[in-house]
Symmetry: C2
């Protein structure tokens, strides 16, 4: 779920999510040396229809030729341009617990255009320790770092009861996009976008599918 | 993105995702002592329309009365019944790095119907340490634990190159749903459902929205 103001609101959220999925698949294809891909192959990856793939890409202009498909490298650059990740985004993590380490270890944030430039916490046992390339600092230093590095995106992993207050501080310091791991919803000015992460929802989706499959057997 | 076989395929994935979001909001409302909620209030939470909320809930039968709205507790139980989470699901984590700790710390898995009964790794430095309530064991012990606790859901956080092989082992041991943090896609029998987690996609969604908002200013 993403709140969207501005022009971003004109493109449906599910299309943007699918663009990310196409990009993952295209990056894997490029790494395997594949040069061309059809809308059908992209559709299989996201378990959708090839007409949907063509509709998604047509939202941003015309790419690919019937019967020839898409050039993999071209399409990667096109999607990165749409998503705004051809330039690097500086990112801070607030609430630098184990999730910070996990994020750095498990995801290729850097290769996908996101650079961690700050990590903040209030726990004295964490301050001074490393989270990947950065030293975890007290949350009081957050605003300076955000301004110095012109950071626009933040990952919020503080406990639910501290989420709103911390998000307001982030917005006041210039943050325009918050990836929110806290269970609580956030109420922020319309130019500040929130992408809500709900890992439990993945398990619920699976329990739904497994229950449904069994009921149908 | 979720692959779905069986009856689960009849309900659109986005509807199931929205049911999880409604449930999060209803749980928060219940915790605040709220007794009734309108489809409009639920719609605001997921940034959708109230007609969509009514359509989503109507997929599973008729609830709520026009002008009266939904009883919060009733609707929580209805959605849990649909999602299959009124009964507890035993879950294992494979690749028990910092993500295991983070998952346990940040999300109320247990209260939402998911109990961690096993955590596995191949790294000798991790084996024997704790991940929340369980001791991390060697991956060779995985099959026994899965059978003993009748586990059907697994969280897969191994490196991409080990993902397919580990997923096949999980499927062979009886797992029917895999929450996949690995970047690689999985190719598995149709009765094994995969829910792909892509945390970078949240940042891409935000970079898209922030870029679009600026372009529109």
């Amino acid at each position: 779920m993403t709140s969207s103001g501005g022009l971003g609101g004109a493109i449906p959220d599910p299309s943007v999510r699918r663009l990310s999925a196409y990009l993952r698949h295209l990056e894997n294809l490029a790494a395997s040396g594949v040069k061309r891909v059809s809308s059908r192959q992209l559709a299989e990856y996201v378990k959708g229809g090839d007409a949907q793939v063509r509709r998604d890409l047509a939202l941003f202009g015309q790419f690919g030729r019937r019967g020839v498909g898409y050039d993999v490298e071209d399409l990667i650059q096109v999607i990165r341009t749409i998503l705004g990740t051809r330039a690097q985004w500086n990112v801070v993590v607030v609430g630098a617990g184990q999730l910070c380490q996990a994020l750095l270890r498990y995801r290729g944030f850097k290769e996908r255009g996101f650079a961690l430039v700050g990590a903040f916490d209030t726990d004295p046992r964490k301050i001074g320790t490393q989270c990947g390339p950065v030293t975890i600092r007290h949350i009081d230093a957050m605003e300076d770092i955000i301004r110095k590095h012109e950071v626009r995106l933040a990952i919020l992993t503080v406990p639910a009861q501290a989420a709103q207050q911390t998000a307001e501080k982030l917005a006041a310091a210039g943050i325009e996009g918050i990836m929110n791991f806290a269970g609580a919803g956030l109420s922020l000015p319309p130019h500040v976008h929130v992408s809500q992460v709900d890992l439990t929802a993945h398990l619920e989706q699976l329990s739904f599918l497994v229950s449904s499959t069994r009921a149908g057997q």
